[in-house]
């Protein structure tokens, strides 16, 4: 007993104050890639290197449409390594959680030279990929009102590699200590206000996810975690995979990353119940330009 107390005393308080204070992130942490579209003279090497096709090309005649999807991105940095024009840099940014799936996609258009390199950038815009609708404004307010401060979460692994579970588990450690925010993990969906779902949703887990969703009382929110949960990620389209979380149940917040670090998860959870504002909007981050 004395050993336990003395160890606790000598350890002191180790808990972070995030999100009140900024996250402590190593300068070497690989976060989201940032692309200077105007400088991008050729998207092909990056698209070729990307393991998840987060950068994809569609050439039509002398025009090229480049889609950048942060919902597929695993922050691996292969694109920045392969790109020859120096347009891609890996940033430290991780707080990319969004309410609408299309906020994670950007589409750039270029004219093409004969050798397949880009002419001047014609336009960059937010993706218009239509996905399942998030909640209506009224529903968000109701959720915030009913669930706003304290929250019970049921975690559902619908097919992940277990990487996301490691980081979600870390939210319970003394550093991130989720309970300081009045949030805890519940053992049953019947006790939960929120489902935190990792994916991709496998064919063999589809029914279990649906049953878990139906067992969760209303009002409820669903957060899709990680590249695979948002889009299927590295596993792509497969005979064994039904699809992203959003293809099986309605999703309210998407948290990119592979896996998302604990602070990113926390941000997504708090956005879902209206306790934090979304910071990322494709072209803009914290109301400042991001992609350009």
């Amino acid at each position: 007993m004395f050993k336990i107390l003395s160890k606790s005393a000598s350890t002191g308080v180790v808990t972070t104050r995030y999100p009140e204070t900024a996250a402590r992130v190593s300068p070497l942490f690989r976060g989201a890639p940032k692309i200077k579209f105007a400088r991008w003279s050729d998207a092909r090497p990056a698209a070729e290197a990307c393991p998840t096709e987060a950068i994809s090309l569609c050439d039509a005649g002398s025009e090229r449409e480049v889609t950048l999807d942060y919902g597929l991105c695993t922050f691996c940095g292969y694109c920045a390594e392969a790109d020859l024009s120096g347009a891609i840099t890996m940033t430290n940014e991780f707080a990319l959680a969004v309410r609408a799936r299309q906020d994670l996609t950007l589409i750039a258009r270029y004219g093409l030279n004969g050798d397949g390199t880009h002419q001047e950038l014609q336009s960059v815009e937010q993706g218009s990929v239509v996905h399942e609708p998030g909640q209506t404004e009224a529903a968000i307010q109701r959720v915030a009102k009913v669930l706003g401060r304290s929250l019970a979460i049921r975690e559902v692994d619908a097919g992940s590699c277990n990487g996301c579970e490691l980081e979600i588990g870390a939210l319970n450690n003394p550093i991130y200590d989720l309970e300081r925010l009045g949030i805890h993990f519940a053992a049953s969906p019947r006790h939960a206000d929120m489902l935190l779902v990792t994916g991709p949703v496998t064919r063999n887990m589809e029914l279990a996810l649906l049953k878990t969703y139906n067992a969760t009382p209303d009002p409820k929110v669903v957060v899709a975690v990680g590249a695979c949960g948002i889009s299927g990620g590295i596993y792509g389209k497969s005979y064994a995979i039904t699809g992203s979380v959003g293809e099986v149940v309605p999703v309210d917040v998407f948290v990119p990353g592979c896996p998302p670090r604990p602070e990113a998860l926390l941000q997504g959870i708090l956005i879902a119940v209206g306790r934090l504002e979304q910071r990322f909007l494709g072209l803009r981050f914290n109301n400042e330009g991001f992609a350009s």
């Binding site: 336990i4 350890t11 692994d157 619908a158 490691l166 887990m205 695979c228 005979y239 064994a240």
Partner: protein, 518 residues
């Protein structure tokens, strides 16, 4: 062809890691061959898998991967199975470790394992139509209807006997699988497992992607073993290409393999403590794991060590400050780790819950082909790092802790000892870290080459087997996670224990669902 062509008692061809001996054996001789190899060389059947070569050779091949520490080698038996007669003799009754793997072959390739004691579906659940996804003609992106019946669990009969169904969605933050406990009062009579809920078609996916992109896929086989699986895969490519990686890259890989071992072991020690109600120990253990995650991030850019290994070496070199940071953090970690073990070991009630709980006897462990931490706690003195060294393990001796009691306590003690060994090894590697290149380019891969790669992940033996195809793609990639060998051991270890002890027994194995299900 007659049996006399083969002398199973003869020494195995001398090989080095990655250059295994292959032997073509008629399918009907396989059961006898495996039994003879087990008898003469204490060979362990570690993986059984199939390959579809119908388009080029009008047949399938079954591969039987054996390992013998006495011979210090892997031996691969290959049996051709004509497409016109797609059956092979099952060896599961004599080699329980083949049970799930033979059923995978039935599900994925449509071959029949004749005489299998339990030939039901395993990887494709009962509601799948009659398809065989790993056959070449099967489209990787096929959308299939749900069909067939619900899974029927074996009934449990007797007065006062009942079943407790658990999962696939579990109460904790863990992966999905279904456990059906048959109990009489509190003691567990029998546990039925149903896995493959997170089957993602990863082996098929490897055939779709160019090899460069496959590294990220290998890192996503099992999240807590990202680095080990990444290394196993890259080693296979390097073997095919005949590529030697620089000494510095080998050292960095080895250090990170050991770091992965430490961060998982410390988390498991904490989790075992939690499951017997010793929460404060877990608070410290999870704090220590976080310390290592922060270190991982500073060394590789990823808390789970992802995006670091690449064919030909590692993607990032370390500067002086990173090396200092690494040794400083480990020094601090070691002090705190000793404090933690001091706290755990001075608790008699904790020891009381862990000792004699979830016992897996040596004989059973051997019969089931149990690997890694669980094997070493049950007297199975095997470790790929020592028996079939790769990377920098070729130049260092690895101490392999072995216990014979096979209970939860010993599975924890193996981890404790291995953390000590890993810290020692990392320090030695850092002290002898030489300057030089950290990666060399991988040349284009020749078509039709095969390679087997083995890595001792923190759970145990990871195997990757590849065959290269045209255009820098793979024709086949077989993944064997240690969990695939070890799940049946959990079934044995829980027998006779009370239900409330199941979580701690399960945690002491801590097997990967995603690695098993792929």
């Amino acid at each position: 062809m007659s049996e006399s062509r083969y002398d199973w008692a003869a020494p195995w061809p001398s090989t080095s890691h990655g250059v295994e001996a292959y032997l073509d054996v008629p399918r009907e001789l396989i059961p006898g061959a495996l039994a003879a190899l087990r008898e003469h060389h204490s060979a362990r059947l570690t993986s059984v898998f199939c390959e579809d070569r119908v388009m080029t050779e009008q047949c399938f091949y079954n591969y039987y991967v054996l390992e013998s520490p006495a011979q210090r080698a892997y031996l691969v038996l290959r049996a051709g199975i004509p497409a016109s007669d797609p059956v092979f003799p099952s060896v599961s009754a004599a080699f329980p470790s083949a049970n799930w793997q033979e059923r995978e072959i039935q599900d994925w390739f449509g071959l029949t394992a004749q005489g299998h004691p339990n030939p039901r579906r395993v990887a494709l659940h009962d509601n799948w139509p009659d398809v065989h996804p790993l056959r070449k003609e099967f489209s990787a992106v096929a959308e299939l209807p749900f069909a067939g019946e619900q899974h029927v669990y074996r009934p449990t009969l007797g007065e006062g006997v009942f079943q407790i169904p658990v999962g696939p969605v579990h109460a904790g933050i863990i992966e999905p699988g279904h456990f059906s406990f048959s109990v009489a009062g509190e003691p567990i009579l029998y546990l039925q497992l149903r896995m493959f809920y997170v089957h993602k078609g990863i082996e098929k996916r490897f055939e779709q992607l160019p090899v460069g992109r496959c590294v990220a896929l290998a890192e996503s086989i099992s999240g807590d073993s990202s680095f080990s699986h990444g290394v196993a895969f890259c080693q296979a490519l390097e073997t095919v290409a005949g590529l030697e990686i620089p000494a510095r890259a080998e050292a960095i890989r080895t250090i990170l393999l050991e770091l992965e071992r430490i961060y998982n072991h410390i988390a498991d020690i904490g989790a075992i403590a939690t499951d017997v109600g010793f929460v404060i120990a877990n608070a410290h253990a999870s704090r220590l794991r976080e310390m290592l995650f922060v270190l991982n991030e500073g060394l590789t850019g990823s808390r789970l060590l992802r995006g670091m290994v690449c064919p030909g070496g590692v993607r990032r070199d370390w500067n002086r400050e990173q090396v200092v940071e690494l040794s400083e953090t480990l020094r601090q970690f070691e002090t705190e780790f000793r404090d933690l073990m001091d706290i755990i070991e001075s608790s008699d009630s904790t020891r009381d819950r862990l000792e004699h709980t979830g016992v897996l006897p040596t004989e059973q462990a051997r019969e089931l082909g149990v690997v890694g931490v669980a094997g070493r706690a049950s007297g199975i003195d095997r470790d790929v790092r020592r028996d079939h060294p790769y990377a920098a393990y070729r130049h260092w001796t690895v101490d392999v802790p072995v216990y014979t009691e096979g209970d939860v306590l010993r599975r924890m003690m193996v981890r404790v000892k291995e953390i000590g060994g890993a810290l020692f090894l990392i320090r030695a590697l850092l002290a002898s870290l030489t300057d030089g290149a950290h990666r060399v380019p991988l040349p284009p891969l020749e078509q039709g080459r095969v390679a087997l790669s083995a890595v001792e992940g923190w759970r145990g033996e990871i195997l990757h087997w590849i065959r290269t195809g045209p255009n820098n793609r793979l024709e086949r990639c077989r993944i064997k996670d240690p969990s695939l060998n070890n799940w049946p051991a959990l079934v044995e270890a829980v027998k006779g224990n009370i239900v409330p002890d199941f979580p701690v027994i399960n945690k002491s194995f801590n097997l990967s669902y995603s690695g098993t299900d792929r």
